[in-house]
Amino acid sequence: MKDEVAISCCRGKDEGVREIDKLRERAGSDAALRARIEQEERFDQEVRAAWQRDCLAPPALAQQILDHVEDRTVRDGVITLSRRTLQTFALAACATLLAVGIWWLQARGDGGAGDSFVEFRQDMIQFASTDGIELDLKTNDLNRISGWLSQEQAPLPNALGPVASLETLGCKIIKWGEGKATLLCFRDQEGRVVHFFAIDREGMARGPEGQGPVLEAGEAEGPETLVWNCPDHFYLAFFDDEEVSVSELL
């Protein structure tokens, strides 16, 4: 069955996918297998050619995209200009109130849900340290979780990174600030729970840089964390047990 899956997925360009690499290696000395792969690839080519022939983008679509984007941008911009005078006063008043509010919150030592990833990290560590987290959806089916998060319009992780291979336990949506964060819980082979959080990166300051997971050393009262990002989200992961080094996931 595994062979059949790999044969179906051969495209002649997917080096690095273990199953396909192994299959091609075996096909080097197995004429029957090689013929089977070639037969499958011929089928793929015929279907691909027919699909590309029959499913053509409308000739004007590229120009429509450019017009659509420019119109929407310009329209929004014109509306902004025409209301600028009134908005200037309103914005100035709001900014003053906001500044006073932030100063007041900071003065009383309660920052609330802020917009920096550092605060998000601290809040999520604190959240995870509370006993008895009740998951909204308990399942080991990532597809079901994905569908449910989409339906709830919560951050939908698309780069699970080092936790991708772990057993999924379920998920929970957490209200943070004005938005939502997603918590996915995983279990490693030794039964230890890993908390994985995703948050929209839009409007979030001081998030992790770079492409791969970055290990952040634990603070005095917090666990080590892994942080990484994708175009839409920032990600944060750490073990439920502070004694376990999250570097084990790397």
Binding site: A50, A62, L142, D232
Partner: protein, 191 residues
């Protein structure tokens, strides 16, 4: 002297504000819109919705592209965004109940083996439409041939192993629909 008409304000805005549609944006449109359209069509199953999905995807890209730090990931970003837009908008509007592959497979009529591969006149499109979206999405990305398995996995938010098994099952169903199921019909005489 203020600007009095909408046209004047529009012209002023065009002149003074850095336009969203620049050369690199146009290049990105030219590079990917056809593949995005095919993927959108395979999801939405009609040209109008497919075009809308592609346009909205590029609008989102125009607004967010400065936040994309790694421009080599633009292609994945576009496909991911389109897929999410589809999930958020069109999937909710689906009027027909979802049919699992196993059920659908059982419901397909048993067909005699066919010796020649005939894929004329939209036969492939029709066959693809019959496949449940869960399997159709990875299969479409497979046939587009422009994303690696890791990228397909990222776009659909499922592990690579799941991507591959879904492609395999989707192809089995496609073959059955095209009356080419080799398991039933044996070799086609080509090998």
């Amino acid at each position: 002297m203020g600007l009095t008409t909408y046209g004047e304000r529009r012209a002023a805005f065009r002149k003074n504000v850095a336009t969203t549609v620049d050369e690199s944006f146009e290049t990105t449109v030219g590079d990917y819109y056809e593949d995005l359209y095919r993927f959108a069509f395979s999801l939405a199953k009609n040209p109008a919705d497919a075009s809308d999905l592609v346009q909205e995807t590029y609008l989102k890209f125009a607004n967010k592209r400065k936040q994309i730090r790694d421009m080599s990931k633009v292609k994945s970003w576009l496909f991911t965004t389109l897929y999410r837009l589809y999930l958020a908008i069109y999937r909710k509007q689906t009027k027909f109940p979802k049919v699992e592959l196993e059920d659908a497979g059982a419901a397909l009529p048993s067909t005699p083996p066919q010796q020649e591969l005939s894929l004329e006149g939209g036969v492939v499109l029709e066959a693809l439409e019959k496949i449940d979206e869960k399997y159709r999405a990875p299969l479409s990305l497979f046939f587009l041939d422009s994303l690696s398995y890791q990228e397909i996995s990222d776009v659909l938010s499922i592990p690579i192993g799941t991507v591959m098994s879904r492609i395999h099952r989707a192809k089995a169903m496609l073959k059955k629909s095209l009356r080419l199921d080799r398991a039933d019909s044996g070799e086609r005489g080509e090998a």
